[in-house]
Symmetry: C3
Subunit: 455 residues, 3 copies
């Protein structure tokens, strides 16, 4: 097996102690603040004399489960494309998201469902917490392989707070629409991660370059992630929208948009590829841009054609980004973006925000009828014009970019603390530094049977 | 890396240009014809003063998501059993299905939901489009590894039209029942693909024989596909059936049928295997035949015992087909059937159609009560006897076989156009011809670090 | 390829004949006893003049599908961590579960839904049958790689009966609550398997030790299983609970508990690992203990904090079990526990039962309001005090341990019948003895092209 440095006791204890500390803190805060809401509490629900069929659970839980699969299966395996970082990709996704779900239940709860001194929880808070975990995992994608689990947990600790704050400003103060999170999730997560990666810039990363590529099987594992993200994205965008036509239309628009981003990804990938060959990096990532780009507008009357056009554009931009912009990002701007989150979440997210500006600005009473109240309540009530809503949407994008940039910068400074355990330049994208790694092949595993400690 | 031929610029541009052309055409047709239906349109839904719980979304979307997983995860990974064609299996499934979803939305829309000059879309059109994509992927299975993506897209272009036409003749003109598509999906897709494969017969395919087998890990990837198809098949067959007892009974029957096809597959595989060993090809495929065989009859009063018996028979026939009939199909009938779709979809599909004839012929007012109206409206209204319905069902099978055969023949002629980019006999079942392929093992990837262009 | 012994004709025919015999027997019993219930039968459902939305299908089918995915994807792939037993892990899971679904439909049906001489089936019987299959697969985990498929089917034949009997005693006679099966599924399945493994103790198992570990890719396949189990566990525990707040609260509690067991698993794994490294065995298994430990109490008013605390404790105990107790179990107690089911299902299951005792004992009319009737009907009706319910819960644990131990002992004696085909000590954890196994690598497969019989 390859060389691996021994770490000092102080460094080795960082992860266990931080996990215990964070878990202890959230547990105490849960004990003090978190309570069942009226749909999950036995006494409150039965006091209300509801029909069971009215419980929010039946309207949103199937969508929640799809979102949950995207976060843990989708993100985890998509990042497993690296040949020697499969354990870290799937495993740290697991760790980060598990912590983020607890922590964002608290943060988002304080902002959105704090009633009578308590945070009230149910399926909507589960969906929201998963969404926040999604943003953290997007940022993780930018620094994948170059950071240790302690750094990642600290990033999540900070990012969840800023995510909640940004989301509160957008949804509650600006009353911007962003159900599927083109702004709050994708743009925020991407630029937070990119700025953070800039601060952590490693000039000597070349030393690990031979590990920063896929092998045949790791690309297939990554496709598991891609396909689960792709199929469940309609549920992601529609999970928190208005019931009835709202969820239905959002799912339909997302479905169409993804088919178009897939076609444009294949077209552009073959067009720019050597000898017309397709690139798995494009297919694994850019084909998903159709889900990102309609995150804001899919609940609106985007029209099926609008969904196709948006998806097509997003897939094309994303593919071209991987081909031409990622190298510049690293060489000129010193941003090392492991998974290309700028191409999958950054540009398509910002484009999705702008699409939301456009579609909101075109909203009319005629097009939405009595459904206007569900999608744009302030327009329906006459408090805002469609143009004013569009301007608020646009302002939401700038707020998001600001929070993400400042947050990413702070995060980068935090993660650069020299005390934190971080992989050396020559050991990036390498599982062995944080994981017990068995041999790659059968005969290797046989040869090392004395040293293996598998249960 | 292995030898790979350079292609001329004309050939290299075929895929990008065809993708762009097809996407442009469907986008224009969407702009002109496709509109939200009354369940997805904000104005129309709210105009109707419905309860949100009545929206079709809540009755069919969870089933749709399972179907969606089957199409993209199930079919894609099931075909990844080939050692050197994982990218093509998963990737071309992705491309073909994404295009088929758009194109069949238009074709099926013209036949089934064309109202006032517009195609109206919602969750039912999403399910129907996924079903059509399933038929295209079945045909893909017959020619897997022997065709390029341009040929595959052209096949889909033709097949979706004929699928829509055949489905219209069966469901709307003959008023045949076929919820899970034993005829319209499985029989049609299989024989379309088999006839097409016959027309594309390659006498020199032996040159690629060493790649037409699995390796240990590719068989496990294929099992991902198998298991997702198996678990979600109850949702597939029940997704479009009548609400209430209809969906419930269809799911239950399919569930039982699949358990029986699994047991008969293991029994027969061990019985005919060398030294009593089980064959992964059988387990990956024949165990699924129980889902195919009840595609027509699962919504009927098949009885749980009937489901077990049907599944048992289908699993047995399918396993024996892989063992004994596939070699004959190639040597005598010159049909090279890469995935054995004749065994999984062809024979079990036709058998399922005949089972539908039988169960329809046995329908009585006593057995169905007032539910007869949902399953066999023409019998309930006295316009047809059960025997007449059975005869119509049988005629539906012949119509399907005719459309599939003629369509497959036409498709084969189309795909033989010499201008189309197609792999040479010695490069079939090989990803490298259409994909940038990284090394198989870590050290290879390290060795090629200078030439790798991974982002 | 490695040496593999030829088996006698008598041994080779055991599996096919047993499969056919079992399938024939269940089919006959289905024909005689199994009928559609009033929600799946066309005549009965329509006779009742119900609204389709009231059909149980819409309340439980999405949860059922998640459970179904856990059984076949989750268990199957989780056990695929062994380097040379992927086919056996996924394949025998498939076979065992398919048989158990049929057989437990009959056994559970006799105990729970036998009306007028018939077993009535619908989505609830589907969920219950999947639960029973889960217990069988837990036992399979203890003896994975050391038993042949004939032995496994006989184990299932016996275990399903005892599972049904134990479940009947607990749920119907003692009126104990155990929705997610901390006792009936996890404790029962684990101790049944462990005692069985004790009876089958192989002193010479050292001869296969080199195969009893993972390789890099097999650990990633196992993570597919882990992640699907993890994300769908909220559906598992909530699938059979009371509608409305019951399902909602159960899912929420399970979700929180799992996040905490994930954090404690990472903390403890790094703490006890060499040089602070994480161990995939812990992450794959112990992170799931949070789902097991709230199997009894998640439907109760556990509180979100209670869920976190329980999950934290379960993850910690499970991780420490893998590290320190599994070796002792083998060396001192002669229990060879391949997957460590004692750590994932045994201890967390028993702990979950005790947690149920505690939470039931704390039940008050104030905390549950009118919802008390759904969770603890006997307390609501004044027939039992909370303390009495708690004592019944505790007694349920002892009953379960007794049934599991006696059953596992009987099972072990049955499986030791010398006539049964069983792998020799030197061929454990090896697919080749029961499966046609292709080469591990491309060039091997090429080299063996003459002998391959792939279809």
């Amino acid at each position: 097996m390859a060389w691996s440095p021994r770490r000092s006791a102080g460094r080795r204890l960082q992860l266990p102690l931080l996990c215990l500390l964070l878990q202890g803190a959230t547990a105490i805060l849960f004990a003090v603040f978190v309570r069942y809401n009226s749909e999950t509490d036995a006494a409150l629900w039965h006091w209300g004399n509801h029909s069971n069929a009215d419980n929010e659970f039946y309207f949103r839980y199937p969508s929640f489960q799809d979102v949950h699969a995207m976060i843990f299966v989708g993100f985890g395996f998509l990042m497993a494309f690296l040949q020697r970082y499969g354990f870290g990709s799937v495993g740290f996704t697991f760790l980060l998201a598990a912590f983020a779900l607890q922590w964002s239940t608290l943060i988002q709860g304080f902002f959105h469902s704090f009633r009578g001194g308590y945070i009230l929880v149910g399926v909507e808070s589960m969906i929201n917490a998963d969404f926040c975990a999604g943003a953290v995992l997007i940022s993780f994608g930018a620094i994948l392989g170059k950071t240790g689990p302690v750094q990642l947990l600290l990033m999540a600790l900070l990012e969840v707070v800023l995510f909640g704050l940004n989301e509160f400003v957008l949804l509650s103060l600006l009353e911007v629409k962003d159900a599927g999170g083109s702004m709050t999730i994708h743009t925020f997560g991407a630029y937070f991660g990119l700025i953070l990666s800039r601060v952590l810039y490693r000039p000597q990363l070349e030393k690990s370059k031979h590990r920063q590529s896929s092998i045949y099987h790791s690309d297939l594992f990554a496709m598991i992630g891609t396909v689960f993200l792709w199929i469940f994205w309609p549920s992601f965008n529609s999970a928190p929208t208005a019931l009835g036509d709202g969820q239905h239309r959002t799912a339909l628009n997302t479905y169409y948009s993804l088919t178009a981003s897939t076609l444009s990804t294949f077209a552009l990938s073959a067009l720019v590829g050597g000898d017309g060959r397709l690139d798995m990096v494009h297919v694994q990532n850019a084909a998903l841009a159709g889900g990102v780009v309609v995150g804001t507008s899919a609940e609106m009357m985007l029209t099926p054609f609008g969904a196709l056009a948006a998806g097509f554009l997003a897939g094309a931009i994303s593919t071209l980004g991987y081909k031409f912009f990622t190298p510049i990002l690293e060489s000129k701007l010193k941003v090392q973006d492991t998974c290309g989150v700028h191409n999958l979440h950054g540009m398509p997210g910002a484009l999705g925000a702008l699409l939301g500006v456009l579609v909101a600005g075109l909203a009319t009473h005629e097009a939405y009828g009595d459904g206007l109240e569900s999608v744009f309540p302030l327009i329906a009530e006459g408090q805002r014009s469609a143009t004013s809503q569009a301007m608020h949407q646009l302002f939401g994008l700038f707020v998001t970019l600001t929070f993400a940039s400042v947050g990413g910068g702070l995060g980068g400074l935090l993660l650069r603390l020299p005390i934190l355990d971080s992989p050396p330049d020559s050991q990036c994208y390498e599982d062995q530094i944080y994981w017990e790694v068995p041999g790659e092949h059968e005969h290797l595993a046989q040869g090392s049977e004395e040293t293996e400690t598998q249960a």
